[in-house]
């Protein structure tokens, strides 16, 4: 019944996230024909410097459907939104619950605190996995509608990257929710951290190699270098470490 309770407590976040990400994926596919019509105009845009370089790069990528999908979805939209919703799913620990009273009811049950957290984390991570897989599969399913195809192998590979790197923000929010008793601060702080990391990678090009978002977008895989196993495992390790600290926090907490 703990699983059911976790579901009841996270279903709106999950469902909204699912709809948003799937709409985003669908939108990317549907926009492709229109984007293709605009392509010939690109060389006439004269923007120099960093911005110009990026526009030209995006245009270059969009020459192939696969490149287009990567640059719009995994490289951008899905990664950003997955970060947001990963953090959302991670915040709101089963023992904070707004008012203390309901937490007391939970704590009066013959269940160890570890188990409470474990079930909650597992349930939410399952939801995160669904959030990572569904939009990717949708890309594969929807592409034929515009006369294109997106391989299921690519879709799943990117799902794996989205999920495993995304767990870092999930775990961060989860850890923060054992420190703050309200629902919003963990999420806002985790998002703030994400923004800071993104800005660092943007402003300091040397750091962009180590950016979590690069891992999340699966850039290495896209560029044909195979899945970034080392980085994915590192992400998983960082997540596990944060969840462990969260469990330790809760274990010695007084209510």
């Amino acid at each position: 019944m703990l699983w059911y309770k976790s579901w009841l407590e996270t279903r709106w976040q999950f469902l909204i996230g699912l709809v948003v990400l799937m709409l985003s994926a669908a939108g990317t596919v549907i926009a492709y024909p229109k984007v293709m019509k605009l392509m010939p105009m690109v060389p006439t845009i004269d923007v120099s410097g960093e911005l110009g370089r990026r526009i030209r790069e995006a245009a270059e990528l969009a020459r192939s459907y696969r490149g287009y999908v990567w640059s719009q979805s995994f490289g951008q939209n899905l990664t950003q939104m997955a970060t947001l919703f990963a953090a959302l799913l991670g915040s709101g620990s089963p023992l904070s619950q707004g008012s203390r009273g309901a937490a007391l009811f939970t704590l009066s049950l013959p269940v160890s605190r570890n188990r409470l957290l474990t079930v909650r984390a597992a349930a939410s991570l399952t939801e995160l996995l669904a959030l990572a897989v569904a939009p990717s599969l949708l890309l594969t399913l929807l592409s034929p509608a515009i006369g294109q195809s997106y391989s299921i192998k690519d879709a799943l590979a990117h799902s794996v990257c989205l999920f495993m790197a995304g767990t870092v923000f999930f775990s961060l929010a989860f850890l923060l929710s054992t420190v703050f008793s309200d629902v919003w601060r963990p999420w806002l702080l985790a998002c703030a951290v994400a923004v800071v990391l993104a800005l660092c990678a943007l402003v300091i090009p040397e750091l962009s190699r180590y950016s979590i978002f690069r891992v999340m977008s699966g850039e290495d895989y896209f560029r044909g270098r195979g899945l970034p196993w080392l980085e994915l495992l590192a992400s998983a390790a960082v997540s596990v470490a944060m969840l462990y600290v969260a469990a330790k926090n809760v274990a010695r907490q007084d209510f």
Binding site: S99, A102, L104, F105, L107, S108, P110, V111, D254, F255
Partner: protein, 299 residues
Amino acid sequence: MSDRFVIETADLRKNYDGVEAVRGLSLQVSGGSIYGFLGRNGAGKTTTIKVLLGMARPTSGHARVFGLPADAEDASVEIRGRTGFVSEEKELYDYMTGEEMIRFTAPFFPRWRGDLEQRYVHTFELPLDRKVKALSRGMRTKLALLLALCRGAELLILDEPTSGLDPAMTEEVLQALVSHVASEEMTVFFSSHQIAEVDQIADHVAIIDRGRAVVTGALDDLRENFRRIQLVFDGDAPEPAFRAPGVVRVRRKGRVLTVLSSAGAERILDEARALNPVSVDVVPVTLKEIFLETVTAED
């Protein structure tokens, strides 16, 4: 510390952020009793309960339930499997309906009593399809009580069970408790600052003041042992130093000296008569008076 007591604390202390909520509490609750835990707001009742249920760790001292240490994680899980709890605010999961709360709670307790569940749903007239957030406080109390009573528990721990309830519903709750205790083998430990209800259903009582137990014992013994001795003098009442034990409080007002004694009133009387009072009165004392005289004003 023995296994004979269902609940036992020894010099229990608990600090929260530098505030001493419990300052050396020692009490023993025997199986089968209805134990009232009386105290003012902020005296440490809720903190003590939280320690017993493993929600808070003692700063020092010991707490045992069923002979098991309350601060050990595994033991605490076992304790909670045999205990029913209702918190002061009776908060449950807002977003669940009554039915969902029951279906959520029941699987945790292998000894769940479906027969009691049916009975209490009927007696309490609980609207099971309504969400908890739409229930009145009285209804929420009854639902919380049902969830505690149907667990097949040996011990019930209730934090101010009738707070916020009107007199009719208070009586209903007390009646449900009494009825339950009469037919099941169990112990009830409830905190309250309603003296009347402790008077009514408790057979043992502990009065807690500023984190310490100032009075403990069987209620009937307290009623039989506590006495108020009133001495009237010709002139101003003297300031005596009673050597006999059992003097709880002495008040002087003009020509009247009032002594509250917890035991051994005879010896105190002997000393008192040596002061040559004009008249001597000995009367029994109510629990309310005992309470008011033994607790101090809030800090």
